[in-house]
Symmetry: D2
Subunit: 289 residues, 4 copies
């Protein structure tokens, strides 16, 4: 019937329109079909092999970070994470060591030849941080802190952008666009769980976001299994799922002594758990290297 | 300090208490550490190998079901799904063929020697349905239809219980307990996505629910990739994630001609897509058989 | 430009379409512009005045119900609620007195000349229940138990339909349509909070749903302040909001001794709190009578 | 039994603990039982009377703002809102006039003697902004931009803090604490809807948050009816609910010509709708002045 035809024209038109809109984005795969490859001290993210990234939630001391770095290095891994600036719900919680933390990270990174990732929370600190670390992380709470995104877009340094606590995939992609629109295309996306009604996990890992982001953008996509689950016992199974679904890498937290950690003590692995995690993950033959 | 000690005692007490509660459930792994294995016409679910289950959203005709069954059989698979009773949001949408649909399923199941799964929506139909089908499905909208659960618990037939649209894992486990409390322990759980704010997918596949359910209960756990994503292009990657994370099987919808399907036309695979899906899934060497 | 014009035609077309769809529903205000008025033992819901409905979560004994009924009657109110069948998350929680509960309700209702509302959970019980109670309630967990809705549509008795735990307004309206499509148009809708990530309240009262439902349908709309908040201290403020926004009435739970209640003890008012609640609500001059 | 007693001790202990924690917060009513009253050019928020605050989504020109200011003034109102910096999902959407917008707001505020509220998005702009506007707004996307909160805590200017898109009430209270911990106690909280699965409204107005925030903190609480609903037809009913539940005021957007507005055109009232809105709201006798 005529009405049905009319509907079909509508649908076609709507899709064309959305298509056009997406094509316009610099981060869109329609604009740039090849994968973006981000290189960090020789380690490539987005080039096919899958990177495993570990480190403590917060930088607490040189010894703490060096201990983890040694374990990371011993496993042949190339990347380390650690927080120097910690955005915390309460102003009275430990807020990180700040620039002292960045200095520790740089020292350890140089000593162990590891690429190091750390979160920056203020636009004013972005340039300074670029001298100490290899990848600037924009955290979940700041995913729509557009001033920070713009500042991150203005430096020549890879940016790891985490999905917001309750951000849609569309908002996530647009946040990346804020960075790229300023000229910096070295962007790594990171799914870290979304806020839902379910209380068995800290957040709900939106595993489908990985193939969607890979399809819609040309950027590499990681999965942070620590923050998405908030449970040590789920790190290994979710890491497997992330690798199987095609993520470019997995992040998880490791601390020499989680029980005394200044933040997130319940969800970090200790070194023995880290060994077991890696052993079982490698045994699964899921890691593409 | 004393206060700290006090807190620790509290925590310990609370955990003990919750522990006790869970131990009390018949479906709990604490009560019964071994995996429950459900056998359907010789196919075992929960015994280590992973089952792949396909079929049309709704039973529309003998020819339609037989066509899919032939494709399923040709791939060496043993289970078929298809809806005879369709709970639909609107009373004016197609509600399924009812008992005629069950008869078609039985005929096809017998001809192709496949175990067949179909949803039942009324307590009054449970016993009758047990004569036609191999597994009675309780759908997401009925996960807390306790009268239906009790009726399902009173027959000697495997039950496939889908997680509710916005059910917590705890509610899901308790819904299974309603069935087992009536004497029927042949229960298969099925994660099928939960309702969240995200609109890129029909529901959000809660992949972490799989290891949690495997850990908390002794029941086999499937993942329905069709209803969790609502997108044909996500069936393959989410199936891989489900298998890697340890699901006992994957369900997806296949229809000979999705464009004319009476329900869910946008998310069903046609036979060619089904071939490609299976080829790529088997090539991934993720399927434990 | 041409493209813009094209877009506008699309939008117009889409709206027309949706409009048509809604007009088609029997519960739609477009189909029937006048308010539906439901009459229960002389009390009218939907006719302009606002009804206040109280009673215990579960019927536990004749004395318990009669005590509340006396308090209700003393305040000049006309309606009483109480659960005889209690759908509970766990099979081991108190499930209600069943038909004995209905008999108690009928006896109390007759003695105090109050209209009485009670939930029914099985299609097989609907006709029987119609002999004991004045309004059959379909609970949140059964909002999409379509067999129950159809059975409710087949009796000549008012139906109080609660919104599902995580039902959209559109699904809620369609659930009402299931009842009306069977011939029973005496339907009262009840907003009772939706499931969200927020944990300060048991559910999140979706207060905007009230004007939307009043606008989209011709049915009366109540607000259940007990289940939406789960907090005794929020009953009064949310009741005020419900009345101010135009609800046709408010429901809340009252129990002679909440501490020993067999269900929901933390959120029911005792008789003294009920007195205070009514005093303050009447003093607010918000109740349209 | 002994076990029950043990449980009760636990519960009591837990509550004590949480209680202590809340008491420690500067924004807590336990710390400071009296209402905080914020004074803006003579208008008091939190002192009992309820303020109505209107203005365009974005400042577009002097004429635009002046036209709205005239209408606001004519109704005897004292406060005006308007955005000079607009955090937008896409980098290609209109981002506001920036400091030029602030200058327009100051000129209009002085000419019409109205207190003016405007959002600031960068810590670096807070001090500058304090010279132009009467209240600095921290928007929903920046509720956990802790650097911005700290900067806001360091100026002597009232801060209007909006609840984050998916922030819990606890996180909201802690965000306010970030400001007050820096020395600035002139804080106004604003509920503006939360992100849920429901699509009938842009967000879900969490009306219960108002009494909870009033109870937990000593700060004034507003409701933004425009952003919580995203629907012009819901502004009046939700404003009534907000006033009835005890909010200290209501915010809504008014634009001389919404159809050509550079942002949020669908949800702003034009001047005629604004007249009707005010007429009906005043007729309801809900506004405490």
């Amino acid at each position: 019937t005529l009405q049905h035809l009319f509907k079909e024209i509508f649908k076609a038109g709507l899709e064309l329109q959305e298509d056009d809109h997406r094509k316009a984005l610099l981060v869109s795969r329609k604009k740039h079909p090849e994968n973006t490859v981000v290189e960090i001290r020789g380690a490539k993210i987005g080039a096919g092999s899958q990177q495993l990234i570990f480190g403590p939630c917060a930088v607490e001391s040189y010894e703490q970070v060096a201990t983890v770095a040694e374990a990371v290095k011993a496993k042949g891994l190339k990347l380390l994470r650690g927080g120097a600036y910690k955005p915390r719900t309460s102003p009275y919680d430990f807020q990180g060591l700040g620039v002292e933390g960045l200095k520790i990270l740089k020292r350890v990174a140089d000593e162990y030849d590891l690429g190091v990732i750390s979160e920056i929370v203020s636009p004013a600190d972005i340039e300074m941080a670029a001298e100490y670390i290899d990848v600037i992380q924009i955290g979940a709470r700041n995913m729509q802190n557009f001033e920070l995104l713009k500042a991150a877009g203005a430096v020549n340094k890879p940016i790891l952008l985490k999905r917001g606590l309750a951000a849609t995939i569309e908002e996530f992609i647009n946040a990346a666009e804020y960075i790229m629109a300023q000229g910096n295309g070295q962007i790594i996306l990171c799914e870290r769980g979304i806020r839902t009604y379910e209380r068995a996990t800290r957040n709900t890992l939106d595993i489908s976001a990985v193939p969607i982001l890979k399809q819609e953008t040309h950027l590499p996509v990681l999965v942070d299994v620590t923050h998405s689950t908030g449970r040590r016992d789920l790190l290994l199974p979710t890491a497997k799922a992330a690798l199987a679904i095609g993520a470019d890498g997995v992040m998880a937290e490791v601390h020499p002594d989680p029980a005394v950690a200044l933040s997130d003590s319940a969800q970090q692995m200790d070194l023995k758990q880290f060994d077991e995690f890696m052993e079982q993950l490698m045994a699964s033959s899921l890691v593409r290297s």
